[in-house]
């Protein structure tokens, strides 16, 4: 299992925002979705997932709602606010720039 600390600083925020762009989700769902989509390449440590969710909420990018899950269990659902959507676009652009830059360096040298 690759250690989650390998994630670049700030990438976790991007992953969370991107995952939530589809639909509201609870913390467990977010972790699961990232794990599945990345084909188990990315394992999100819970120790960093929840603080990150709270941080994003306090920044006003996420809003929360308590709702029941499909198996009738109360859970905290996160969804993007308008500011969160804007932030996602900004972070995506940022990521684009970063990866292009890294790719260029890797090709050149």
């Amino acid at each position: 299992m690759p250690p989650s600390t390998d994630l670049l600083q700030g990438t976790l925020d991007l992953l969370i925002l991107k995952t939530l762009a589809l639909e509201p989700m609870h913390g467990w769902g977010i972790a699961l979705r990232i794990q599945q989509v990345s084909k188990l390449a990315l394992q999100i440590g819970q120790g960093s997932l929840y603080p990150a969710l709270h941080r994003l909420e306090y920044k006003g990018w996420l809003q929360v709602e308590w709702a029941t899950t499909e198996n009738n269990r109360r859970a905290k659902f996160y969804s993007l606010t308008r500011a969160g959507k804007k932030q996602l676009q900004a972070e995506l652009a940022n990521w684009e720039r970063l990866t292009t830059g890294i790719a260029l360096v890797l090709e050149q040298i």
Partner: protein, 877 residues
Amino acid sequence: MLKEWVTKLRFFLSRRNHSELDEELRFHVEQSAHVHIDAGMAPEEARRRALIEFGGVEGAREQCYRQRPGWWMDTVLQDARYALRGFLRNRAYAFTIIVTLALGIGATTAVFSVVDRILFRTLPYADAGRLVSAGLTAPISPNEFLLTDSYYEWRDHQTPFAAITSELGTESCDLTEEKPARLSCSRVEASFLPTFGVTPLFGRNFDPAEDQPNAPKVALISYGLWKSSFGLDPTILNHTISIDGHTTRVIGILPKTFEMPMLEASDVLMPQALDQTAVSVSGSNAVTMLYVFARLKPGVTLQQAQAALQPMFDYSLSKAPPRFRQEVHLKVRSLRDRQMQDVELAAWLLFGTVMIVLLIACANVASLMLARGAARERELAVRAALGAGRGRLVRQTLTEALLLFLTAALAGLVLAEIAMRIFIAFAPQGVPFLNQAHIDLRVFLFTIVISILCAVLFGLAPALQKPRTETLGGRSLGSASRATLRQCLVAAEIAGSMVLLVGGMLLFRSFWNLENQHLGMQTESIVTASMSLGRQLYPTHHSQMEFFQQLRARLQGLPGLKELAVSDALPPSGYQHSMLYGVIGIDGKPKPEGGTGGTVQWRWVTPEYFSALRIPLIQGEGFTQAEQNSNGHFIVVSELLAAHMFPGENPIGQRLQPGMQGPWYTVVGVAANVKNGGLTGEELPEFYRLRRNREEDWDPSASVILNTSLPTAGVEQWVRSEITNLDPTLPVQVETLHQRVNRIADRPRFETMLVSSFAIVGLVLSVVGLYGVIAFLVAQRSQEIGVRMALGATRAHILRLVVARGMLLVIIGAVTGLIAVSFLSRLLSSLLFGVGPHDPVSLAGMTLVLSVVALLAMLIPAFAAMNIDPNVALRSE
């Protein structure tokens, strides 16, 4: 950006429910466990695995909690609550610290509120930093001035100033309305208010056309006068009032905060109305003295301004008689310097003194906190072991320090208010702004800031002590490093007290010299009454002479009166006439070449002056009644002047011409020298003109001198009532000569009193600190002492052991203090009289006092150490 802050604020204000977070995390673990159960794991095992996968639940919760904006506020409150509980458990400790600090902070606040206006606060003018006073200094006047002809030249040709203006001075004048009052009227140029950037509260400034001789009279009145005489009536504007019998139109009211640049009290501002064309005619009588103020152009420094004025100054000087040239200098200084003069040094002295007291108090408190820190080392080690980070522990200790210091600051503010009342009650007249000193927002902020600074500075030392894990073992270990720091603090305290003690002693000795110097005249049993007649009621010299002669006739009837004299000025200071030595003509001798010869004081006196003040006449008879009624001119010279003028000759019968023109006077006596340059100034040569019974010898001001055998209090009353009978509106100052002389010494007395009391407070605090440290060391070393005694050390050995350590601190502190004194006391020189800044008596005396007091403080713990029972000491623990 704003939105982000609003969000933060919203979360900051709303309290999040802890159980929500718990539920969220629980949900996660359950889901995780479900996955394992679905994979066929037993529920118990599944739950265990889920928890393991999650990692530290507690850590995650803590992490989530810390994401909340302002979460640290909670920890601060927690720390504060914890600290308060600690203080309540240890009340004596908290109380001692708060009282010590409140004393230090209170004294500092009180002194700051007094010196603030003198040293720091900006003057009440627009952009006051660029205002300067400019002119030339000459022996005749201690402050810079300009003669009108030079001023007009400067004004028209100067380059360094954006604006320049002049003040003729302030004199008493009379409001001659139905409610008459004695006022102060200042005569200024039309550009005066604009240069200072002052706009009238109501109305307008006078324009240059109104600043002309024979222009219709206009005036601006002060806010104080507007209130006291016109009841804040706005209709006074553009109405006329009568000043000295002249109808004057009020065209403006000055702002409440307005003050004259030389700080003199002034009720009315009038155009100086000088005749500029007459001045330019050379040798004109219209030339007078002006005080000149200017506003520097932006970016121009004082030095540049001085350099720019130099050519004009040189030119003006070239027109002056050669013997004046050496003693006349150009002077440009900031307005603040002009206002504060010598007060500034005294203010720094007080401020410095009180800061030392504050530092001693803080050092004591830091020492106490270190001692408590040593006792709490185990507690801190336990907290560290339970996961409190280093930063958290430091924050906890700092919170405690801040709580103590801020409580003390509040108590200090109350103390300061009381101390300030005492200051003002004891303070001499002439300390500028003292009566305005009060605790306002600015002073309050100063107090809070200085408390926080001290708390951080002195709270940090104990906070940074790292708890050692060994203490968890339960054995108390000797905390050697703590004691070292405390010892350094005590040595520093002793150094501070040494500086204070020597400073206080120097001032005290100087004051003693001042009080006990020989004035050359009698001051006991002498009652003086000084008055200045109004020009309205007494317009002519004749009416003035008549008034004083009537008064003299009435006072002659006083029982117990030994002598009655009239003069126009009283030694040793206050207003006295003066004249340049070089101006005085001596019959049969050429006027001296080179230099003005310095200043000569003189006064008008009646023949009884010398006998009334018991000033011995060394040669000649002095003035006689016959001379008083004659039309001849007679003069008495002081010993000093006689020695200057007639070395080796008999002065009696010589003839002098005091002044460029005028009659020649015959010397009829030589009087012993009298202190006449203030209490601290050097004695100046002096002469006395006979005030004859002729109107040309009289002017509106006079001082009546009564030498009486009766108690002075009754005589004062009687004199006052006699004067009131003659003229009920005349303001008069009646006091004994002794009081008058004492009043001059008020400033040094005040300084001495304050610095000495601060020195005593400092000494007490540092000796308490010394006692505390020695007692601590003895307690810490009680086992060691027990071992030594068991091995045969005598009580004398133990005494030496304890005292030697204490004395080492005292010696280090005293030597450091003495080194500091040798640098600092030189700054005091100008405040000292008859004692040098390195006066050996003060230095040696205070070292001795400090050592003896310190020794006494050490004896208490030393005796405790001597009485240690080795049996008990060795068995403890």
